[in-house]
């Protein structure tokens, strides 16, 4: 009941194809920090389309594509021109070029409308997915496998499929070159790949994908799909190949998820469906936001968790080191308040409990002392601390009375200064490495 072959198959297919196509190409825009170029091109293909239509008086996809391609190239050229002569930053140059071209397109649409052909500028933005209705759809899925299906496939989907296949070919064949040219165009050129040519080729593909997606899903979705899947994937991995594969999957997921959200969620409130393209865009934004928070490698949550863990380990280390030092001063046992004073924590209890649980310290009649395990751990930390103090005074020439604090900062992480010195700058003994028997 949520999926009606007649109403949903083609729109869903169109959205998915557009999303995947744009998501794929968008990875490279992201890499080259040219995501806004995608925005610019998707705005400035409009006059290309309209002019092509006005000249050729036909809506044939080839003509549209030609118009879009030319518009895409013209955009890139103009942006470079304005950047150079206007001496403005790339963002401003893009803004100038695409808004002028877009305004031109909007005006031309009005003009074309005079010729009794109604063009609508708003559709450019949010597409017309909903109109890809398949009136004579079969009743069940099994009915799909027939020649009528092929006949009924809308033009937009065919165009999209072709462009997608070409784009996949482009990316697979020229993967190494694209990657290199994105990182270091100068090097790429010296190695024999013409980075400028690659740049233009990429933009042409973006323009083609934009145009192919226009009629179905509108330019706003195009921009979102050029950036969001790639950006989301970027937050999940560091490897480009993985990123590309992930971005395609994410694009597919958001297209499907967004499409159904457009029907399902309003349905919960008893309302009509909302615009599918917009819904997909929002969905992809939500997916991205979620990833920003929970991504295992780069997400905010995981970073926080790592920091908290580190923080707690540092606290534990401090506790053990403090107790060891007290032990050196012949104070083998410490009370909770002693400890509280020493490590400057007003409420040491949770920390102490944690240490007890890990068998690092033991509690006996209200006093705490180090266990065997705790001794070893404490010795390791104090050893590192004092080695650092020695290093800082000896090698770095810092003043002996200062190095304690700096060593405190350094003792918790690798690397460790090499073994050798026997005493620290204050004359205290540097414990032996507990690992070494």
């Amino acid at each position: 009941m949520y999926f009606d072959l007649a109403l949903d198959l083609f729109p869903l297919l169109a959205a998915a194809l557009a999303a995947v196509c744009c998501g794929l190409l968008g990875n490279f825009l992201l890499l080259r920090k040219q995501s806004m170029m995608g925005d610019a091109i998707s705005h400035s293909v409009l006059p290309g389309l309209v002019i092509a239509f006005l000249i050729a008086s036909t809506r044939s996809p080839l003509v549209m594509l030609a118009g879009a391609t030319i518009a895409g190239v013209v955009t890139v050229v103009l942006v470079e021109f304005v950047k150079r002569f206007g001496k403005v930053e790339p963002g401003a140059a893009m803004g100038v070029v695409f808004s002028i071209l877009f305004a031109l397109g909007v005006l031309l649409i009005e003009k074309a409308a005079v010729r009794h052909v109604d063009l609508d500028a708003e559709c450019v933005l949010h597409g017309q997915l909903e109109t890809l209705v398949w009136y004579s759809a079969p009743a069940t899925i099994s009915g799909l496998w027939s020649v009528e299906t092929l006949d009924a496939i809308p033009r937009q989907i065919i165009t999209l499929t072709i462009i997608l296949i070409l784009a996949i070919g482009f990316v697979s064949l020229l993967f190494k070159e694209l990657r290199l040219a994105s990182f270091d165009p100068a090097l790429a050129t010296t190695l024999g790949f013409n980075s400028t040519l690659l740049h233009y080729l990429l933009m042409i593909f973006v323009a083609a994908a934009t145009v192919a997606s226009f009629e179905a899903v509108g330019s706003i979705l195009v921009i979102a799909m050029l950036i969001c899947p790639g950006a989301t994937a970027r937050l999940l991995t560091d490897r480009l190949r993985t990123q590309i594969v992930l971005s395609v999957l994410i694009a597919l997921f958001t297209a499907v998820g967004g499409y159904f959200s457009a029907t399902i969620i309003p349905g919960w409130f008893g309302r009509d469906t909302v615009n599918a393209a917009g819904s997909i865009t929002v969905f992809s934004g939500l997916v991205l936001s979620l990833t920003i928070i929970i991504s295992p490698s780069h997400g905010i949550l995981s970073r926080m968790i790592r920091r908290i863990r580190l923080s707690s380990r540092v606290a534990l280390d401090d506790l053990l080191a403090t107790m060891y030092r007290a032990q050196e001063q012949a104070q083998a046992e410490m009370s909770a308040s002693d400890i509280s004073d020493a490590i400057l924590r007003s409420k040491p209890q949770p920390l102490l409990n944690r240490a007890v649980k890990r068998a690092l310290i033991q509690r006996h009649r209200g006093m705490y002392s180090l266990t065997e395990k705790g001794q070893r751990a404490a010795r390791s930390i104090v050893r590192r601390h004092r080695l650092w103090e020695h290093y800082l005074v000896d090698q770095a020439g810092l003043a002996p009375d200062h190095v304690h604090e700096t060593a405190e900062r350094l003792e918790h992480l690798p690397p460790v200064p090499p073994a050798g010195p026997q005493t620290d700058p204050q004359g205290k003994v540097i414990p032996d490495d507990p690992q070494v028997p």
Partner: protein, 276 residues
């Protein structure tokens, strides 16, 4: 608060508790550690600047020289430590401190003339929303005169050579009428004439009782131009009068030795601070 930050919770009641720092010193730094993009680049700096001297900060690239100045001025936050000027915190004595940033830190295609830039040094005195009056323009012209750029007052700054731009920056700092000046590589990439002009100005500043701290890149000219020097390489290697401190041993320690271990540790800290 970063987990690996200094655990010293000593109350920051000021440097007065530390006898080695004097309240008359134009700049007193105690145990300052500074991180750049979360990586500690300056460790545990302790320094007292003598008044009325020309002081050079030298060290290899990436040694933290610019960071030193920027953190004193509060442009970069400190990971730990205290900085005071004449015994006071920075915000109380702002008006007595002048600054010449690095030349590259600015887009020189900005639509202003040399005079406009120098006038910016007087904006604080002019105050919010008030226009730049003739009186201030005259004062700015005088500053341009001091650096030999009066004739270029109405020239657009993009039409100036590197040395001329540097002099305009210097004139702007002079317009601030400060007592302590920080200059970040004022001699970098300038022609001989400009270099002479700049050192002339510095000497006059010293003669009128000011203190100038300069990040300098050219070791050759240190003994000739400066009274004091700070040798910096991730930490203060040595500091003091040029005659005493500018020795081969110290220079070797500054430029020759790379504290790789400390660098690695700094990287490790940077990684944990970003939660990687």
């Amino acid at each position: 608060m970063s987990p690996v930050a200094a655990h010293s919770n000593s109350k920051q009641s000021g440097l007065s508790e530390y006898p080695e720092h004097s309240a008359e010193s134009p700049l007193s730094i105690h145990a300052m550690t500074v991180a750049y993009h979360k990586k500690p680049v300056l460790w545990d700096v302790d320094y007292d600047a003598p008044a009325n001297k020309l002081i050079a900060i030298v060290g290899p690239n990436g040694a933290g020289k610019s960071t030193f100045i920027k953190s004193c001025l509060g442009l970069i936050p400190k990971a730990s430590g205290l900085v005071e000027f004449w015994g006071q915190p920075y915000r109380k004595v702002r008006s007595r401190i002048g600054y010449v940033p690095q030349r590259e830190s600015v887009d020189w295609d900005f639509p202003v003339s040399a005079l406009d830039v120098v006038c910016m040094g007087r904006y604080r005195r002019i105050g919010w929303c008030r226009p730049v009056t003739r009186k201030h323009k005259v004062a700015a012209l005088d500053c341009l005169e001091l650096v030999g750029m009066r004739d270029f007052a109405n020239r657009q700054i993009s039409q100036l050579s590197g040395g001329q731009q540097q002099r305009v920056f210097l004139a702007r700092a002079l317009a601030q009428q400060a007592e302590l000046y920080f200059m970040d590589e004022p001699f970098a990439g300038v022609d001989a004439a400009t270099e002479r002009a700049i050192i002339q100005v510095l000497r006059e500043l010293k003669n009128s009782g000011k203190t100038v701290i300069v990040v300098h890149h050219d070791l050759q000219s240190v003994p000739e131009y400066f009274d004091e020097v700070i040798l910096l390489n991730m930490r203060v290697v040595a500091s003091g009068p040029v005659g005493e401190v500018f020795t081969e041993t110290n220079l070797h320690k500054t430029y020759g030795g790379r504290l790789t271990l400390l660098s690695e540790a700094a990287e490790a800290i940077a990684r944990t601070e970003s939660g990687v």
